[in-house]
Amino acid sequence: MIQFILKGILRDKNRSLLPIVIVALGVTLTVFLSGYLAGVFQDVIQQNARFETGHVKIMSKPYAQNKDQLPIDLALLNTEKLKKELQSAYPDMQWVQRIKFGGLLDVPDENGNSRSQGPASVMAISILSDNNEIERLNIKNSVIKGGIPTKSGDVLISNDFANKLDIKIGDEITYVGSTMYGSMAFQNYRVSGTVEFGNVGFDKGAIIMDVSDAQQILNMEDGATEILGYFGNSQYESDRANSIAENFNTKYKNSEDEFAPEMFSLEEQNGLGEILAYSNYMSQIIVTVLIFAMSVVLWNTGLLGGLRRYKEYGIRLALGESKGSIYRKSIIEAVLIGAIGSTLGTFLGLIATYYMQEVGLDISDLMDKSSMIMPSTIRAKIIPNQIYIGFIPGVLAMVLGNMLSGMGIYKRETANLFKELEV
């Protein structure tokens, strides 16, 4: 019977084309939007976690209160001891220390006079002793020219910044700023390479150096502005992160040390909690809205189709086919049309997602004045639930639409059939 109905669907384009197109369009939209939102939200969250927040982050209490000003005088001290304690308490997590500070980058000419200058934001990470940080920040793939620092005194500089100040690989540059205690900090560095992270804030004027170099220049021996913790599988686990932060903070709740550490989960930072909640609800809302909208459209399509096939249903009833049989066959027909449309829509949605995943949408012009860590190119991401997130609602909407429109079959009066058929 299914084969018979399928033949009917394929041969009678008037019966199937419009519903298939509508279902396919709806499903394409659902699949693409799911992939697009997943890509954007995951990129924002992962980029923030990698560069800024970790899965959890520890700062000194006063530093946390003023963190936007990067107050290096309020940094954490004795960080090696603290890291060892954390490693022992949470052995499946990776703990890294970072230092963020600002200053002036000065490029000398051949006589040692200032040739060009620019404000620099420095991120000090464990480059020389911890390969995880290089992988975590995807530094190898972000290098545009030169290479990753291999010895103390080597730094990476953002490619845009290097172009702006006309810095070549191997050039000596001077950092000028303040130490943790306010003294002047002067240091010469050699540029080993240039990087581009696809992050507007960073690519404007960033320097990346080894954390030990930063500790030396900032007079911050065994100190760091922040310690970041990452789960072993690199995936953020909200409940676990919040529980770890709560336990850690309980220990230091009554500490008399003004600079006691305080831990924050990813979602407690940079408004990422709202983004996480938003991303969780967004897909559900889109799917619900699309099912509803498609159902309404398909109901109407079904009604139109029903009217067009009024005579056919009349003849079938006149020939003795039961109302229930006609209704069931129209539902099976709807399932088949829904499946065809949903398959087509899922396929098209995945193609659109793949295109946006590979090519992306460049929003760097919009991000010029933004301080939020956002990727400069928005990309979609193909995720496993795209296979069913559009397919099931597509079929359901088609069936629902036909079930509603097919109710008319039961309202037909057999006594009026011949009058309606004009025989």
Binding site: Q117, P119, S178, G182
Partner: protein
């Protein structure tokens, strides 16, 4: 009769005082202040006491100045600062650091940074114009600071590029030394408070040997600038105010 004579004398003194006060203008007060505070040239040995969140540091330096436009400072201690030199010529500021052997000209936002972690910014050090050139001054009252009577002057900027839009200065009515100053932003917010104390008679002029700068946007007790030794109007060789002297 005796009472009448006493009352007459008091009235006369009050009258003279009113006349005297009526005669002096805000600009004249600033001129008298300038006579005390400024000189053709100075060589100063000073100590900055910088109170940070975690420690207190003392930085000793020797400074040479000619007018308001030329100055040269060499930091003598502690070890980390030793050998760092600063040269200011008009609106330019260079810093030399011996460990990098680099001379760097500071500009832009760096000038708003704190000098050696103190409550003073490079921009504060760079201001080289006379107050009369930048501000319209008026006397707005009198007040006692400690046991000293002071005129209160209000200075409102008449140029666009003034570091502070408004200043309120308390000037000793007898010695013509400012004892307190408050510096305000355009919004009216108090940015810095300067307290001058330990006034001494040096080389025939009154001079404050301790100045406390307090950045009101920072916590703490501010930075003390203590004059250890000062020479007024010495001969300073020209080579001092030259970029070459930074590396010397």
């Amino acid at each position: 009769m005796k009472t009448f004579r006493v009352l007459s004398l008091i009235s006369c003194l009050l009258f003279i005082s009113v006349i005297a006060h009526g005669q002096i203008t805000a600009n004249e007060i600033l001129d008298r202040v300038k006579e005390n505070m400024n000189s053709e040239s100075t060589i100063t040995e000073s100590k900055m006491v910088i109170r940070g969140k975690r420690n207190t540091r003392e930085i000793v330096s020797k400074g040479y100045a000619e007018g308001n436009e030329k100055s040269f400072t060499e930091y003598l201690s502690p070890e980390r600062e030793k050998g760092t030199k600063m040269l200011k010529l008009e609106d330019k500021l260079w810093i030399y650091n011996p460990s990098t052997d680099r001379t760097i000209q500071l500009s832009g936002h760096m000038l708003r940074q704190s000098v050696m972690g103190s409550d003073l910014s490079y921009e504060d050090m760079m201001e080289d114009r006379e107050l009369i050139e930048i501000y319209d001054a008026t006397i707005i009252g009198e007040e006692k600071i400690g046991d000293r009577n002071c005129y209160i002057l209000e200075l409102n900027a008449k140029v666009e590029d003034a570091s502070y839009q408004k200043r309120k200065t308390w000037v000793d009515t007898e010695r013509f030394i400012p004892l307190k100053e408050e510096l305000f932003a355009k919004s009216g917010q108090l940015l810095k408070r300067v307290s001058l104390s330990d006034i001494q008679k040096l080389d025939g002029r009154w001079y404050p040997t301790k100045i406390n700068y307090k950045d009101m946007l920072m916590s703490g007790e501010g930075t003390d600038f203590i004059v250890l030794n000062i020479e007024f109007n010495p001969e300073i060789p020209d080579y001092i105010f030259n970029k070459a002297s930074l590396k010397r």
